[in-house]
Symmetry: D2
């Protein structure tokens, strides 16, 4: 794979989708570490690029006639350790379950292998009218293939 | 109470601490509603002003010799409905439990009474060396008094 | 005026529109002071509430048939001193010029009277098709009346 | 150069430092395009990685005995066109002037070559006591070498 594309959008691996991101000033707060809500930004970037690597461009998909929108319904987040300015983080996104109109993802943020954040994200799949929309079978297969081994 | 102070820092009520905040451009994303991680900002503002109304200035407390730092350890967040640009939101913060070196808060974000976000926030209390620090008895009493009736 | 409304949306005064806002964790970075780009958030809140106090709801106005959208075209910002966690800031917004399809605003952020940020904001007024749109005469009068005395 | 390192921190080129970044949900607002203050985040990432490529780690440098802190003093920003969700942006950072205790940088944000944002950033160099600090001669040489050709 082109390493530039890999670096920008991450890659699907046997452990799930992996994305590398840097911590900048904007991510930190006066306590000296990363502001807690910023980890949700890193995880959202991970989910977006996970979908991108599966061939799903969210902006395009939301606009199309058979629109499919992914909405975060619930998050359970364990904050285990803190990231700091200049840290290089790896965001891992893997499917726990893909069925009906629901998607459950497990996400982790690590620095040099050490686990900083672990999250479980329950996502509702809806259509343009805001109603639940069953995931098409090919997508379910794709998501299921991206579960952590 | 001075209404300007109330409006800026909210107030302790029999239902817990209430803070009113407006949704601005910065809070929304291209899907047209508030970006999911921004609700954590609103809740953090609520917790900060809850502590402020209890007489706890976090910046001062973290700097003092008997420093006490409140660190989010786990969040469980249900995203039930979306807020939009210009909405006026009420953030409610109430104590579920205050004991030892742990604080559990329940937080809700409502618009015109309708529940948008419900969260359970587990907070670790630590000292300047990052070690667990038991909450002083007077603080436990204060937190316990601020449970939802 | 109702002090709660004043506190939430600020007020038009002979010096221009004044809005009071608190600095929270989210606004700071690891250097200990407010992250430079956050001052633009505070100023955007000031402009939004300046328009609101003039009777202009941007979300509604952008959606209407004679839509009018305000787009920041250029900013000149002097960062004179830093704000910190828990500070209470006053954002002042005043008209420098309102003519044709252009609006020039002067904005200041102060803490206890001390000037922290001074900015000049050049705004283009466009319609739904992205073309320049002359400000209606009554709006020009309103904006002009809100110049600093 | 290792393409992964290039992709993460950008690279010094004859045109100045170039950094590639993606637009995510967090960067957009309900108007459909990138929120204006977010361009300052992209530019700050560019400046941080420009310094990193020059061998300057800001967090380490600010902590050292001969600490050197770079503080944004003034910004002039032209917003020429808008970025959107999923866009890939290139942030260019080049030295206009490095002398005494002052650094002037020119920054641009482009998408597929099209200029979206042009900015002039005046930076004050200070020491740990907040006093102006002359740039060491080797740093001035390094910055001067990174002017756009």
């Amino acid at each position: 794979m082109n390493p530039l594309v890999f670096a920008l959008s991450g890659a699907l691996t046997p452990e799930g989708h992996l994305l590398t991101q840097r911590v900048y000033y904007e991510d930190t707060d006066f306590s000296g570490v990363v502001y807690h809500a910023r980890y949700l930004h890193f995880m959202e970037r991970g989910r977006t690029d996970f979908l991108r690597c599966l061939g799903i461009e969210q902006a395009a998909m939301a606009a199309g006639p058979d629109s499919l929108v992914f909405v975060v319904h619930r998050m359970e987040i364990d904050f285990k350790a803190s990231a700091r300015m200049d840290d290089v983080l790896t965001i891992r996104t893997a499917t726990e379950k893909a069925a009906g109109a629901k998607l459950i993802l497990n996400q982790e943020i690590r620095r040099d292998g050490a686990l900083l954040i672990a999250a479980r994200v329950i996502i509702a799949v809806i259509n343009a009218r805001g109603r639940p929309q069953r995931l098409p079978a090919p997508l379910i297969e794709q998501f299921s293939a991206a579960s952590a081994s």
